[in-house]
Symmetry: C2
Subunit: 431 residues, 2 copies
């Protein structure tokens, strides 16, 4: 079963919107054993959509479109599908009644253009949209099938999960390909690839490296017979070769692993954030139920707040500025003590775009105060990619990962010396 | 000048990576008057890449590819371009020397497969990559031109800005299309579209609505003669019809507007965050130089921390739980006073996926304490899209926008009654 995706919308070609829908659909389909072989974006022009649908059906069994089903005049996917099928657009009375009812219930007047959402290519099946107004459509076309879904992510996802995926998975047959993603932090892509050369050489096994700021996901694919068994074998080798750098698999985030390790010890963490401005707290609280292990945080972005909120020595701040290893240590101790947490985790550094207190962009110190007398400060040297505002976002994101990774390693029982050594090696690696 | 984008990589089809490169390129090209007419993603297969390049050149003047130029064996764009051009891949000695030098400087051994990056289709021009190892390539092909760029965003962006955009813009001619994006918060897309019907009817003017959680960007496009003048006229009408809901244009973020308004008054804000866990602080500190107007923040995710860190009345928390308007008010006052800021901004609520203290997912209170006796609490009722973990991210993001928007309106001098009324209307709108 080969599937192509067709995303419709000028806003995607103009880059006002990133194509998150295609990524989500690709993942969900792969999980069900359905292969996406091509993904195309076109603008809001009926003729271009018709041509793209026909080309795609020449290569694939099914085409999934998103976008262009809304109420406004730039929503033209319905028109294009009618044209491709050589049928008329007809108003569906039941759909019209449902639209009028929804709007009346909200005490509003129906905008005349909203009735466009009740128009359907003759013969198309309606796919129930329990998350919004416009239903999806299924149109049989020249031996293939087109599923047209709304562009609003929550509506697209709902119709995918409730209708389209069950239908496609029924026709997909048993999985001939098995995939798993192993997540790592703290090692460079090139170092990982060199270490995994022997796994690359295993028959029927392919590796792909998906780098994110300060993280690398290694996707293992096993194709052919006994795919699951060979996948398990390859994963075992990958884990053995990468050791402590592996923190999880699949959708497991670094934050969720940290919460699990804290929970196992009955411990909590409090965070003190300077350059990240709240991102570490946001990452930790992205996990539901995190209030059991996340005590809270202090965002001390301005230098004076490091003294005021956390008790960092004012003389130290005057003499060295805010970007200093001892400041990171005192911030970690301060937040741990003031919030009554088991661990205190702190970051201070320069996110850019300009240097600060004479320190270059990318200078970052991560401080960790443990429940006893344990104190650690690491200085991951972050590469400075690109220029301007992009630096800032990447450095902040890398800092979040390095901080969570330091805490994870300490909780996982890697000796402090090893954490410090890894940080040093990391620095040399970056030259 | 028509340009198509071709992004190469299994990870994009599988949804492990979102196609941010295509969005960035589309934006940059549109700014220079170059129209992207189609954007295609294919996997790491040479034959498929060859076919996609040839199809694209049949429709467009230039094709920009990203991905597949790295050192590993799944990087096959070089091979595909050589095949499409009917030439051999030849090793470039200068490029090889540069690779060896880079690696030696970092004190590492050259991985044999890294030498693949020195292979070039015969006759291709090298595009300098000042941000990494693999250069871009320019290949003339059947009357058109292919620019091949690395998939690493910082490297792709550098080569685009330094080489490709200047070359393409030189051939693009004067801008026949003018575009502007007006940014709004707090109004629904359907309400905005209904209000702007008369602008839609202006000749040569097109509107597009780009909804984000709790924000809508309205993109105005003017095509044909005197595009700039007509764009200005349309923007004036849009602003008049949307009034206070417009907070900025183009890339201007809500956070940057809040900082500007605070700066004009010489005021600062401190934030107290519950369900957002640090996202409001992160958003405010995404703007460089924000330490002048952002005092700091307290992340009081656990209920007990609202009392401990902010002095919220313990009896109130015991009786009503953390999700209550009076809790939001006391959090705002508490953080303002403890951090010595002019304004205190606070949020408490239920991000999901499960209800909390008997309150449904999406219940949110935003508290604002002004420098004098001003106190405001709003209760934006947030629609609950989709299910499970997605809810959580969307509700948190909407809460950030509603909080910043409340502060913006107060700073911009909209009377408190109006803010409260807008919040009520907003609620009715959502039925």
């Amino acid at each position: 079963m080969r599937v192509e995706l067709l995303t419709v919308g000028d806003e995607l070609l103009l880059g006002d919107t990133i194509n998150g829908n295609a990524a989500w659909m690709g993942r969900r389909l792969a999980e069900r054993g359905v292969e996406v072989t091509r993904s195309v974006v076109v603008g809001d022009e009926p003729d271009v959509i018709v041509a793209a649908v026909e080309e795609a059906l020449g290569r694939a069994d099914a085409v999934l479109t998103t976008g262009g089903l809304g109420p406004t005049y730039d929503d033209v996917t319905r028109d294009a599908l009618a044209k491709a099928a050589g049928v008329a657009l007809v108003r569906d009375p039941a759909l019209e009644a449902r639209l009028r009812e929804r709007v009346a219930k909200a005490g509003r007047d129906l905008q005349p253009m909203a009735l466009r959402m009740a128009d359907v290519p003759e013969g198309a099946a309606l796919l129930r949209n329990s998350a919004g107004s416009a239903p999806g459509l299924r149109v049989e076309l020249g031996g293939g099938v087109v599923y047209a879904l709304p562009g609003v992510p929550s509506e697209m996802r709902t119709i995918m999960d409730e209708v389209v995926l069950p239908e496609l998975a029924a026709g997909a047959g048993p999985l001939a390909v098995a995939r798993r993603t192993v997540r790592t932090a703290g090692l460079w892509e090139s170092v990982i690839a060199a270490r995994l050369a022997e796994v690359e050489a295993m028959p029927g096994i392919r590796l792909a490296y998906l780098p994110d700021p300060a993280e690398v996901k290694v996707r293992i694919t096993a194709a052919g017979g006994a795919a699951q068994e060979r996948l398990a074998e390859a994963e075992g080798r990958v884990r053995a070769l990468l050791g402590d750098a592996v923190y999880g698999t699949g959708d497991e985030s670094l934050a969720s692993v940290v919460h699990r390790l804290l929970g196992e010890r009955g411990a909590t963490v409090a965070v003190a954030e300077s350059l990240t401005g709240g991102l570490i707290g946001a990452e930790l609280t992205s996990v539901p139920g995190s209030s059991d292990t996340f005590a809270g945080g202090a965002v001390t972005y301005a230098t004076s707040m490091k003294h005021r909120m956390l008790g960092v020595d004012a003389g130290l701040l005057d003499e060295h500025g805010a970007v200093h290893p001892e400041v990171a240590r005192q911030m970690a101790e301060g937040v741990r003590d003031r919030l009554g947490a088991g661990y205190g985790l702190a970051v201070t550094g320069v996110a850019g775009p300009d240097p600060q207190d004479g320190r270059p962009v990318g200078t970052v110190y991560v401080g960790l105060a443990g429940p006893g007398s344990e104190r650690l400060v690491t200085a991951p040297r972050l590469p400075v990619p690109g220029t301007g505002m992009e630096i800032r976002a990447v450095i902040r994101r890398m800092t979040v990962v390095h901080a969570l990774e330091l805490l994870r390693r300490v909780l996982a029982g890697v000796a402090p010396e090893d954490v410090a050594r890894d940080a040093r090696e990391d620095r040399e690696e970056r030259g």
